[in-house]
Symmetry: C2
Subunit: 466 residues, 2 copies
């Protein structure tokens, strides 16, 4: 390993950057972090909105790594399943797992980020500077140029290593792309849908206006809204909708009347508890949904991309933050290997990690279609019913794709994807061919699903598909 | 349709741009073409190298469209199959099809481009200007800025419509990407391999030093060389090799001795007829192999990407030029639909075409692995043997993936990919499970392959995989 006195510069003090700073601080490195936004512990930068995220087992590995599991638990609201709302306002709960102890959590981005910053700053060897945005990284000389947004000055920083955790719009990634100094594979893929955040405010008594411990979904085939609970009794609601296709879309929802009409027609039960809908709708921006992949993540032993800067994904698997925290865990494991230079460390990290972040990017797109559409279809509901029964009866022997991705944090995303997709294909085809049904003996179903899944994986392997 | 007097500006007079100019000239538009390079009919821009391409049935659709089929045929050298060279210098021929009348051709890029330019210029309403490179396209105002490389002047051109056929490094695509005026999905993916062009010169009597009517391949697992014949008796040889992996790679082939050692060890029979190897190797550049995809291809009704500028692919299916010519054929078919504005025309064209260019990009990557590796493996050779027999015995009922892509020009690349991959999977798995063999009754094999292929496609459909 490199000497502990090495100076590491981290660009971006969001969730990934602050966890990385904390962990590298614990390991004894001299860590300097520059963040373009103000310190969120001192300034309210959320414009009154309470933005939350799904936090689950892979993210929790990061919290365990730095000893924060218990503190983070206090910020969590468990969500045991999806509560589906149909057009008539009927609801039904679809658990995330047949195992009672498996659930995901809603957590405030701000509260969690604040905790990580505070813990990182407890280390003398970690310094965090705010209001300083990175403009450019000279990856050949391991220097970065910043602008100070308070006094408008510009300055350059030198380091032994620069790690960019500056999100989907990463300055380092842009420098890689525009620099044309090496072959840089890169993709940005936008969905035809965008999203807009809305809210369900707390009840007058401070309680929740709808069931607290669920991720609520109103699936409508080509669009949907979802809602996640906050500690203050509110829910953050997100509308996912096409920019320009279908009867209602972001381009034609231009007046209070048409927005209200759209919700009245499609989400009447949500509208009832969203009297603030029109204000939210026209105050909050519409944002795009994009996937970013790239390679290589590093330039020699000088610079490295981590978190969203290396692999931004769409939010439909609730794994964005969890994947970034897992990055830090994986990077930490590579540091433990005792490689003797940063280039070898960065190379080993990318080799170990990229296949998995590619997989979660693709899985997140899968789930976009599943959430807005499949959850409302009979054959997918029948599949879900069978999988819940399998997980309940055989908790040691069966995990659905969702469980493999979300709760089986000891296997990588890629393995979860391959096995999970094969299982889905096996069950859907056996249902379609009347080989299994939800009424069959469940032990018999388990055996058939396992056998068919193995056969699918083996056929793909022989055909050289992976 | 738009009025015929519309002014169309085409950026780039390569193979796609010159065919497009010719066709739009035939349709009566006022066409102006700007090309950054000198006129290849007047200046030798090949630096003494004779670069050839694979020309096949999809490309020929474009030639038929403009009435040039017979003229182009005179430039073609038929290649009936792959001639495989093993490490001991043994050769065996693997035909591209079991149908004798199906073959691909080697054609000179320069000769074909020259023909298309000359034919386009026969139209009064087509003007082609050389030495004028596009620097930037203002897609909101439908203007383009050029630099004249002869007098270094810069100028701006206005048009009703701008179509960019300026290749993988497209100025219009760069303007889309950097403009950030709309959500532009984009990817550039590089293989870890690069390529370098070499040559086998004609024999002293002007003849060919190895078999003329084949695409020669020396497959070696992780790397390969290929050779295509030229009309002058020479072959253009291409080495495909990793930049930095394996015992020999582009980064360590730095001296005449090691280059010769590499060829002596891996390609002894090729080396014998390549006395000019070392000169070629150190004179010619090493170039990367990249795939480019993007969307949207058009901005409103103002500008459109076509050919490599919209979808650059790796060369392993010999379909790059053919795909670009097919673009022109597809665009021409949309023009026939009588839509009443350019935005509708561009939208309809992309909707119809993009799924197919995405597919050929993926197929070309498939074939990279097939050519350098699979062609040398027993199970793939057995598959090929069976497919040749199927095509010979049942020419109306069976086409291999290669035939579907190359010779079935009436179906799109995407359909060819889905059916071809399913067939490959069916045959490889039935071979592996001893359900079929090359010795079985061929009629029986056909029925099993067809049935299994349909089952695979149906299983994928039920699982929602496409």
């Amino acid at each position: 390993m490199k000497e502990k006195k090495q100076n590491i510069l981290i660009i971006g003090a969001g969730l990934c950057g602050s966890l990385l700073a904390l962990r590298l601080g614990q390991r004894g490195y001299n860590v300097t972090v520059y963040e373009k936004r103000p310190d969120l512990r001192k300034v309210d930068i959320s414009a009154g909105r309470s933005i939350n995220l799904a936090f689950s087992d892979r993210g929790n590995k990061g919290m365990k790594l730095v000893g924060l599991e218990e503190k983070v638990k206090k910020l969590c609201i468990p969500m045991n399943g999806r509560m589906i709302h149909d057009k008539e306002g009927n609801t039904f709960m679809s658990n995330y797992s047949g195992r009672d102890y498996e659930y995901i959590n809603s957590i405030s981005r701000e509260d969690l980020n604040a905790l990580l910053l505070t813990e990182a700053e407890k280390h003398e060897n970690v310094k965090i500077h705010f209001n300083k945005g990175c403009k450019h990284v000279d990856f050949e000389n391991t220097t970065a140029e910043f602008k100070d947004y308070v006094d408008n000055s510009e300055f350059k920083e030198d380091a032994d290593v620069i790690i960019a955790t500056d999100g989907a719009g990463s300055a380092l990634r842009k420098s890689y792309y525009l620099g044309k100094k090496f072959l840089f594979s890169f993709s940005q893929d936008y969905l035809t849908h965008g999203y807009k955040e809305l809210s369900i405010l707390p009840a007058e008594n401070g309680g929740y206006k709808t069931f607290k411990n669920a991720l609520h979904i109103w699936p409508r085939g080509d669009f949907m809204i979802i809602a996640l609970p906050n500690l203050d009794g509110s829910f953050t609601v997100t509308l996912f909708l096409s920019y320009d296709e279908g009867e209602y879309n972001f381009n034609n929802l231009t007046t209070p009347e048409i927005v209200t009409e759209f919700f009245q027609k499609e989400f009447p039960d949500a509208l009832e508890i969203m009297p603030n809908l029109v204000d939210d709708f026209f105050e909050n921006p519409t944002a795009p949904l994009g996937t970013i992949k790239c390679s290589p993540w590093h330039y020699k032993g000088n610079t490295l991309l981590m978190g969203d800067s290396a692999h931004a994904i769409v939010p439909f698997y609730g794994q964005g933050m969890n994947a970034s925290f897992e990055d830090v865990v994986e990077f930490d494991a590579v540091l433990d290997e005792g490689l003797d230079n940063w280039e070898a460390i960065f190379k080993a990290y990318e080799k170990r990690r990229k296949k998995d972040t590619d997989a979660i990017a693709d899985l997140a797109i899968d789930n976009f279609h599943e959430m807005k559409d499949h959850v409302g279809q009979a054959i997918f509901q029948e599949k879900r019913k069978i999988e819940m029964a399998l997980e309940k009866e055989f908790p040691e022997d069966y995990s659905s794709k969702y469980s493999l991705v979300t709760f089986n944090e000891d296997i990588g995303y890629r393995e979860a994807m391959l096995r999970g997709r094969a299982q889905d294909k096996a069950i859907l085809n056996m249902l379609s061919d009347n080989v299994i049904s939800a009424e069959d003996d469940i032990k018999d179903v388990l055996e058939k699903v396992k056998e068919e899944t193995e056969a699918i994986l083996e056929d793909d392997r022989i055909a050289g598909l992976y």
